[in-house]
């Protein structure tokens, strides 16, 4: 059975939606990060799909870029997270509201 690009895109959309929901709903910062990664990789999946469909390498190149940037982002984000945890013994994003106006 041949799986068409539509299925890949659907999967990508579902993964992205799960990620969005996770970011909006979950309080745990680590889970929020994971959800962001999920969204990024959902987008990667659609890039690859379009690259395959159009026979162009642009999408694949972009996917690699996204991975590299995401890795760097995770490093920085986790660093901040560890620092906050040391200070407050909590990883809940709702506790971090120092910039409240």
């Amino acid at each position: 059975m041949r799986v068409g690009p539509g299925a890949y895109l659907l999967l990508s959309a579902i993964l992205f939606a799960i990620g969005v929901a996770g970011v909006l709903i979950r309080r745990n910062a680590i889970v929020v990060f994971m959800c962001i990664e999920l969204m990024l990789n959902a987008v990667n999946l659609s890039f690859i799909t379009f690259a395959k469909t159009n026979g162009s390498l642009d999408g694949q190149v972009l996917a690699f870029f996204v991975m590299v940037v995401a890795a760097a982002e995770v490093v920085v984000g986790l660093g901040i997270l560890v620092a906050i945890f040391r200070k407050r013994s909590s990883t809940s994003v709702d506790d971090v509201n120092l910039l409240k106006g």
Binding site: V23, L24, V93, L98, G101
Partner: protein
């Protein structure tokens, strides 16, 4: 510095010689001028380019024509005498070198004014004399004078009410009133430049007849506003009586003989502009007549000898404006009255100064009486000037005032009405001047115990004698009885134009007779009241209702105070409290509060909840995507 102290003592002589030298030069230049024929008597001395800015080109040009020459001679001649007098009068003043330098600066400014060939150079002199007037009125800025209530007691006992008068407010008043007039001069200059593109007299006067009627009227009236300030005409005359706080030679020089005549000179100089506007000429005549009458009325009620003379000056300046406002038939008459007035009023002021000098600086007429024998020279010279100002036949004032009145009568129309005012004023003039001499020189002695009135030194009496002689003979020398082709008129004709027709001898005789009878009536009235042994202080108290308004200067100062201090203060308070505090401050504070309110509602968006921000990002992304997808 080496000669500082010695020069200080000589300051008066240096100043006097400088002005006398100017007089000699003026005479020489006049003789040179007379050697030319009538048409060539306007000479322009081209100076350097003074100001060049765009289209505006102003050169420091000077003009020497019969009118300038006449004024220059009066200014330098009378000034020389007054300088000489001042040497004696200011002998004991600590700051006399300052006094003389300012006096000289004044003469210089006045000469610039009368010799100018364009409006800006004239304005330079115009402002210069205004400044010198301010400086000299306030010269005794630390000396306080007490003025006794007009209904107060004579000499004995304490005065029941005294008012303090001192120089700084008087100087400021003079300056401010002059500034108001100067605004008129400036605006007139702007208008002249805007319409003719030049400020040079030759150019402007050449184009004066082509001006639109409205423009000509506006320029003429603005110039006349300047005249009312400088020449103390209604409504800006109020500074002149107060200016008497200055030293008496200043009153004589600036506020009688020279500076105040600048306005009359300005009208005569710019007569082509005034001729282009009948309205402006009528205004000049009416204001002159009104001021003449007003000044004469107020002069009756004054007790301060210098104030009497000040109001007299205002009144006489009114005559001059009547003359120059009439057009060609009156120019020579107005200028003639200016000349004779310079002589007799300078004498009267210097005589008053001499009286003050011999009476411990007292100016209250109630404290004199019987000075005739104590100060014979002052007395006789003052009597000569008195004869001239009230118009005793064959004296100077008789000729000049009659010429003004005759021109007025001949002008016809509204002139006849104004003629009645003029004759009435002549009668009032005779009354108040006679009151002045009777109360000062005749009758019983009213001066306080311990005062020894004495004649002034020769340095002061010499100018008095010269001026008295001039006051007697100047009219005879410069005119003929009928005013027909008088010497002065012939002399001025190249500049001011010839009158169209001359009145007949018989009419002139009757006009003169009417004015003379009126003057005799006034003088007789004064003699009945003040010359005989009538208790005029009792009369004054009995008819206080009639006397008060005259003594209070017809309440003009109070009206001014009402408009400037009371109404002006109310306006300022309204602007400060309502407009500024509520309006402007309200607007500023309102804007601030608006911004603050917006910020207060805006800060609620900044919740600090990361997930709500994420929701915002999502919402924005959805909107953008929706826009991209559903874009038509």
């Amino acid at each position: 510095m080496l000669f500082g102290q010695r020069l200080r003592a000589l300051a008066g002589w240096i100043a006097t010689l400088a002005v006398a030298a100017a007089f000699v030069i003026a005479v020489a230049a006049l003789l040179e001028l007379l050697s030319h024929s009538g048409e060539e008597r306007t000479q322009v001395l081209r100076g350097y380019e003074w100001i060049t800015s765009g289209d505006l080109r102003v050169a420091f040009d000077l003009r020497w024509d019969p009118l300038s020459a006449l004024m220059a001679l009066i200014v330098t001649g009378v000034s020389s005498l007054i300088h000489l007098y001042s040497i004696g009068y200011m002998e004991h003043d600590e700051r006399r070198e300052t006094f003389f330098s300012w006096l000289n600066l004044f003469v210089a400014s006045m000469l610039v004014l009368v010799l100018a060939q364009n409006f800006l150079v004239m304005f330079l002199g115009w402002e210069g004399v205004g400044l010198c007037s301010y400086l000299l009125v306030g010269f005794w800025f630390n000396r306080r004078l007490l003025v006794v209530n007009p209904l107060g007691r004579l000499v004995e006992g304490e005065p029941d009410d005294t008012r303090e008068v001192w120089a700084p407010p008087a100087a400021k008043k003079a300056f401010l009133a002059n500034r108001i007039g100067d605004v008129g001069f400036l605006l007139a200059m702007f208008l002249i430049f805007a319409t003719t593109g030049s400020l040079d007299f030759n150019v402007v006067f050449g184009e004066a007849s082509t001006l639109a009627a409205g423009t000509a009227t506006a320029i003429a009236l603005l110039l006349f506003l300047a005249c009312t300030g400088k020449s103390a005409q209604f409504p800006l005359y109020v500074w002149l009586p107060d200016a008497m706080a200055g030293p008496t030679p200043v009153s004589a020089l600036i506020h009688a003989a020279t500076m105040v005549t600048a306005g009359v000179f300005l009208v005569a100089r710019t007569h082509t502009i005034f001729e282009a506007s009948g309205t402006a000429q009528t205004v000049v005549v009416l204001v002159g007549a009104g001021t003449a009458l007003l000044g004469a009325l107020i002069a009756i009620g004054q007790d301060d000898i210098k104030k009497i003379l000040a109001y007299s000056t205002i009144s006489q300046l009114g005559y001059m404006f009547i003359g120059v406002g009439l057009g060609p038939i009156g120019y020579a008459a107005g200028m003639f009255h200016l000349v004779t007035h310079a002589f007799f009023k300078a004498q009267l002021f210097l005589g008053a100064g001499s009286v003050m000098h011999g009476n411990d600086e007292d100016t209250d007429i109630k404290h004199f009486g019987g000075l005739r024998s104590a100060m014979p020279i002052t007395f006789w010279t003052t009597m000569a000037a008195w004869a001239a100002i009230i118009g005793v036949p064959l004296t100077a004032g008789f000729y000049s005032k009659d010429q003004v009145l005759a021109a007025l009568f001949e002008h016809g129309g509204i002139g006849r009405l104004v003629w009645v005012v003029g004759v009435l004023t002549a009668g009032l003039t005779a009354f108040y001047m006679s009151r002045y001499v009777f109360l000062t020189f005749f009758g019983e002695r009213r001066w306080p115990e311990g005062r020894h009135p004495h004649e002034s030194p020769p340095l002061m009496t010499l100018p008095l004698i010269v001026l008295a002689v001039l006051a007697l003979v100047a009219g005879f020398a410069l005119s003929t009885f009928t005013g027909e082709g008088g010497r002065l008129q012939q002399f001025l004709e190249p500049v001011l134009g010839a009158p169209e027709e001359h009145e007949s001898l018989a009419a002139a005789f009757w006009l003169s007779a009417a004015a003379t009878v009126m003057a005799a009536t006034g003088a007789t009235g004064a003699w009945l009241l003040y010359g005989r042994r009538v208790d005029w202080m009792a009369l004054r108290r009995r008819y206080a209702g009639a006397w008060r308004p005259l003594a209070e200067k017809l309440y003009v100062d109070q009206v001014y105070e009402f408009f400037t201090v009371t109404l002006g203060g109310a306006l300022a308070a309204f602007l400060a409290r309502t407009v500024d505090q509520r309006g402007i401050d309200g607007a500023v504070n309102g804007v601030a509060e608006l911004v603050g309110d917006a910020a207060r509602s805006g800060r609620r968006l900044q919740s600090g909840l990361v997930r709500s921000y994420a929701l915002g990002v999502l919402g924005g992304a959805v909107l953008i995507v929706a826009f991209l997808v559903f874009r038509p």
